[in-house]
Amino acid sequence: MAEPMKMRASVSGDVADIKVLMNHPMETGLRKDAKTGQLIPAHFINEVHATVNGKPVLDAQWGGGVSKNPYLGFKVKGAKAGDKVEVSWKDNKGESNKVDGVVA
């Protein structure tokens, strides 16, 4: 499953602008398969964590209401070029993935 995530982190002034794209089907568990009429089991990212230089900056809980292949943008003050950013997620089936990068 764990397809690669994409991240871009750029700094303007002292604020880092971090953008992340994740690959995930984000099934709510409420949708029916058009062919069989059966409910498609829920499969969505429910936890997202982000750190800058190892310090947590963002901890999120998600429901199935986030769009497929989720996009997340957030900003961190006091960051500078060269800072290490790591973003990770976990889904309701226990799968996980992470991406790390450097603020440019």
Binding site: A50, A60, W62, G65, S67, G78
Partner: protein
């Protein structure tokens, strides 16, 4: 002799794992987030979900701005951007009021993360997109209507 050695190795391995688990637990308890809040995400209305998140009833605030399209053609992908200019913003939760389960995301921000979240959400039908912001133990809210042409929750 061999069996004894094996047992010792095994128990050593086991204590190692327990120690690691404890360390992980300690790290987690320092974190704001507990286990995934299944009741809040299953709540059918916004006030219920806010209560399940452990937040007080929020007051309307003009310091929160929600950027979302007036009309979303495809409810499966609605870009939403929430900016809170309230000092000390530590939490942003996003709701789509008429979704089967309105709570979409609950963000906790710390260590310099600004009151800003940009993401894409699913909307079943035309509804208010609501943001609930936590700052200094108080909660604030703002909402914006998004008209949805094709719902994004059905099959």
């Amino acid at each position: 002799m061999n069996a004894l050695r094996r047992n010792i190795l095994k128990s050593a391995g086991a204590t190692g794992i327990v120690a690691m688990a404890a360390a992980a637990g300690l790290l987690k308890s320092g974190n704001v987030l507990a286990a995934w809040n299944s009741s809040a995400f299953a709540a059918k209305t916004v006030p219920e979900a806010i209560k399940d998140l452990g937040l007080s009833t929020p007051a309307d605030s003009k310091a929160i701005s929600i950027k979302a399209p007036d009309i979303a053609e495809n409810g499966a992908v609605v870009p939403v951007e929430v900016t809170s200019s309230i000092a000390g913003t530590t939490g942003i939760a996003i709701f789509a009021e008429k979704n089967a389960t309105p709570l979409i995301t609950d963000f906790k921000l710390s260590n310099g993360a600004e009151g800003f979240i940009s993401t894409r959400i699913k909307m079943g039908q035309t509804a208010m997109v609501r943001a609930v912001v936590t700052a200094g133990g108080k909660t604030y809210t703002a909402a914006k209507e998004v008209k949805v042409t094709i719902g994004g929750c059905g099959g």
